[in-house]
């Protein structure tokens, strides 16, 4: 018999909370398509390593926030339903038919804590420190089917429950240099990384077959789970996921290295371009609590043999055996994780002194679900303030974004969103990315 523990909950709540954290923050910040070609800011441009600020001198960039959430299939707000104040229920009833065979959910948070930019002459040096959190999940519709319908409608069929997942966080100490060489700007940033926590499942295969006879369960698994500090597995009934990605001041362990490269320049008086490759690098996870869990087996549960209980006072409990159907070997092995690389091409045409029109193509290579975006943006400059409008397609989903660069004396406030609807309800849209930044120049 199945006991209530099995019925009550799966413990991927922690993962859900990470996703929720992403949503919460997403109005504040990040795939940041708006920042492509943003040229009137007093600080470095995270999407353009070649950017050189207009004015000489120092700029202190204060803590900001940036977040991106990208979803395939139904969006979180469609199935995360509030049943009571602060209490949500995972309910796929209204959207169960809207899932694709394979669905993705990606989130990225960046918290730039401090940055100092200094331009002298044609060159600009940037030194920054911040925190970044990445997560990416690719899941199969069958996983949702199993949760929502159970396996009864799929008796005699093989359910594909495989997932690819990646969630990690790290601190980033970056040193950048960009230079205006007249006809072209070039820039590069080198980044020293320190991993905080990581959990990743690469090419996780998990097939479940339910036999029509007496519903024997057969599991075919090929899963490797890399974990550094967040996951402990002793069985389906005894595992914990405690992903605590935020540690602002960690440095010195799980070290990694990455770099950004960029060039930009003008072609004539009106036309300019930008090319950038960002986050090329990786983190080596080698801390004390770094483990690799491997399950590469074909197992089955065909029911209990009552003979095993004939001479025993122990209760006959089915779930104990059910929980053993998926077992992992745990090894303490170091491994590395690639960052989510980003590649950007942008062009800009100055229509008038006050109005620019640009186009761009952006690829954000999440671990398993690359996101491609393209679109056009226009910037309207009035006096010394800037407002921008963005129309883009992100993974085929149309979005309209707004942004502003607001100058208040020595203080510059930069706020952008790639999707206005995402501001009102980021959990209701397939793509939301926003950034807020503040800098002081002197």
């Amino acid at each position: 018999m199945i006991k209530k523990e099995l019925l009550k909950s799966f413990r991927f709540g922690s993962f859900v909370l990470v996703m929720l954290l992403s949503i919460c923050s997403s109005t504040l910040f990040s795939q940041d398509l708006h920042w492509i070609g943003l040229d009137n800011i007093d600080q470095s441009n995270p999407l353009d390593p070649s950017y050189v600020k207009v004015d000489s001198g120092f700029t202190l960039v204060l803590p900001g926030l940036s977040a991106t959430l990208v979803q395939d299939g139904p969006v979180l707000g469609d199935y995360f339903k509030e049943t009571d104040l602060g209490v949500f229920k995972l309910d796929f009833t209204d959207v169960i038919n809207d899932f694709d065979g394979e669905n993705g959910l990606g989130a990225e948070i960046a918290i730039p804590l401090i940055e100092l930019d200094w331009r002298k002459g044609k060159g600009m040096i940037s030194l920054s420190y911040g925190l970044r959190v990445m997560s990416d999940l690719v899941y199969q519709k069958d996983l949702i089917n199993l949760f929502h319908f159970g396996n009864v409608p799929f008796i005699g069929e093989t359910m594909n429950l495989g997932i690819d997942a990646s969630a990690f966080s790290y601190t980033e100490l970056a040193l950048g240099y960009s230079r205006d060489m007249g006809f072209i700007n070039v820039g590069a940033r080198v980044k020293l990384l320190s991993g905080i926590e990581d959990l990743s499942i690469a090419d996780g295969k998990l097939d479940l077959y339910t036999d029509p006879d007496i519903y024997q369960l057969e599991v075919d698994s090929d899963i490797i789970i890399n974990s550094s500090g967040s996951f402990d597995y002793n069985g389906l009934d005894d595992f914990s996921l405690d992903f605590n990605p935020v540690n602002y001041f960690q440095f010195g362990k799980n070290m990694g290295f990455a770099f950004d490269l960029g060039i930009s320049g003008d072609l004539g008086d009106k036309f300019s371009y930008q090319l950038a490759a960002l986050d090329i690098g990786s983190i080596s996870w080698d801390g004390d609590s770094t483990f690799v869990y491997t399950s590469q087996d074909q197992t089955s549960f065909e029911g209990l043999d009552l003979l095993d209980f004939f001479d025993d006072e122990q209760d006959i409990v089915v779930e104990d055996s059910l929980y053993q159907i998926l077992e992992f070997e745990k090894e303490s092995i170091s491994y590395s994780t690639d960052l989510y690389k980003k590649f950007i091409i942008g062009v800009n045409y100055q229509i008038t002194d006050a109005i620019d029109l640009g186009g761009f193509y952006h690829i954000n290579q999440y671990s398993k679900s690359p996101i491609s975006s393209f679109g056009i943006s226009s910037k309207y400059k009035f006096r010394n303030q800037t407002a921008s409008l963005l129309i883009a397609a992100v993974n085929g989903n149309p979005v309209v974004g707004l942004g502003t660069v607001l100058n208040l004396g020595p203080v510059q406030l930069i706020a952008t969103t790639d999707n206005v609807l995402g501001v009102l309800g980021p959990d209701k849209v397939k793509y939301s990315s926003s950034r807020v930044g503040l800098n002081v120049s002197f």
Binding site: M1, L6, G13, L85, F382
Partner: protein, 516 residues
Amino acid sequence: MNHRSSFSFFSGFCLLISVLLVSGCSDISSTEEVDVALNGEYAIPLVQTEARILEIAESVSGNSVVKVDPDGKLTVFYTAPPVQKFANEIFESVEISIPLFIQDTVAPIEFPVEVFPTNFQLDRAVFSDVSIRWQFMTTLEENVTLNVTIPELNDPNGVVYSRDYVLNYQGEAETILDTEQESLDLWEVIGNNNEVFVNYDARNEAGERIELDRIVLNFNRLDFEYIEGFFGREEEQVDGEVITVGVYSTWLSGGLWFENPKVRIEGENAFGFPVEAQFNSVDFTTVDGQTFPMTGDLIDNGVLFKHPTLAEVGEVKLDTFFFTDENSNIQEIFNNKVTSVSFDIDAIANPDDDPNVTGFMTKQSYYKVVTNVELPLFGYANDLRLADTFDIDFDGYDKLESAEFKLIMENDFPFDVTVQGFLMDENNNITDSLFTEERFFLPAADIDAVTGIATSAGEETAFIPFDASRINNVTDASKVAFLVGLESLNNGEVPLWIYEDYALKLRLGAKIKLND
């Protein structure tokens, strides 16, 4: 540096965008609890058991053992705890704390026959872990030389015990010599009318024979590795043991008939003299509490177990005796549904009390008696009804909305099986049953009319639904009582053998609907 300072409607619009961005978090950001409870319908296997009589017996601790003959036919043995006694439990070693005073130059020492039967006669014995020491005393005011001999005592090489001592006069009134303790382990003593003799020859300095004023012989203990002789007739009560016969433990009504049940008496004897088991009574108790005494020649005459001869010291003789329908009334009384057999047995050593029978015992000698009820699984069931009740606990299954069990059973046995289960509350009130309309019927296997062997299994599949209106009867139940009916072929009148490969295959799965 070009600081901007103007502020306008446009600037306000931009600021509004910024505020919206900062404040526009989703309601989900206030998440305190996420309910991810399953609420689908899940199919899981519960039980898959292929039970053979042999495997069931092996998986259950108790007093039953199933044996297979070369043809694959099964016999169940219900065994009582064995009765076993070793020599040292029967003839305990003697601790000797009283010193033996030697009164003459030739003095007898009696063998400690009090631990043996009255007419025990020692031929020879071998000491085990025995040590002696002497004390000699003289009042002569001169040195004394001394020789002590025990002609009946030989070392392991056959050399007679003989020792020389000197009492050196030291000017005291008494000259005393206390010897060191001396091991006689594995020394052999020859019986001389159950006595051994100590001879001593003491001389003064002039060489004249004298008598010492005191000679004391001290034994630490008296124990033997081997004793040979006539041990006499000795009766010993064998603790009465009871064999529990479990075959009727769940009997409710009807008949179960076994052909040729037996009681088997297995004896092991390592004593070198005859041992007879005398049955004071062998009583069978039935399911209704009646007691029937077994009668027959063996009961009247007892059984005499074999014993090793003097040339077979160290060997163990095995003997087996049966109470069968040929020498007792066991067939008649066993099928009254016997649940236990009790024994009252005396073991008699040297039952004929013949002093010409020279026997032996070693320190390792023992006898062992094992009693079994031997039940060949050859018989039939006639409207046999069995019942048993099990405690169940579905606490924590409140998420169950409904369930449907799928039961598949296969039967290799030569009898039809009917099954019903009743769910009961804590007050033993029946709240529901597993099968609503009729009992689950599992047909007997097809039987070859010539060989009596099953050729194909009887099979039945049943779906047992518990919808929302009944599921609480399951989750609230604290007991389930199973009623099982067995009926052999031809209305239960054809005895057939149960074979080793006969199995009852039970497969059970469930579809469970969960609510949220």
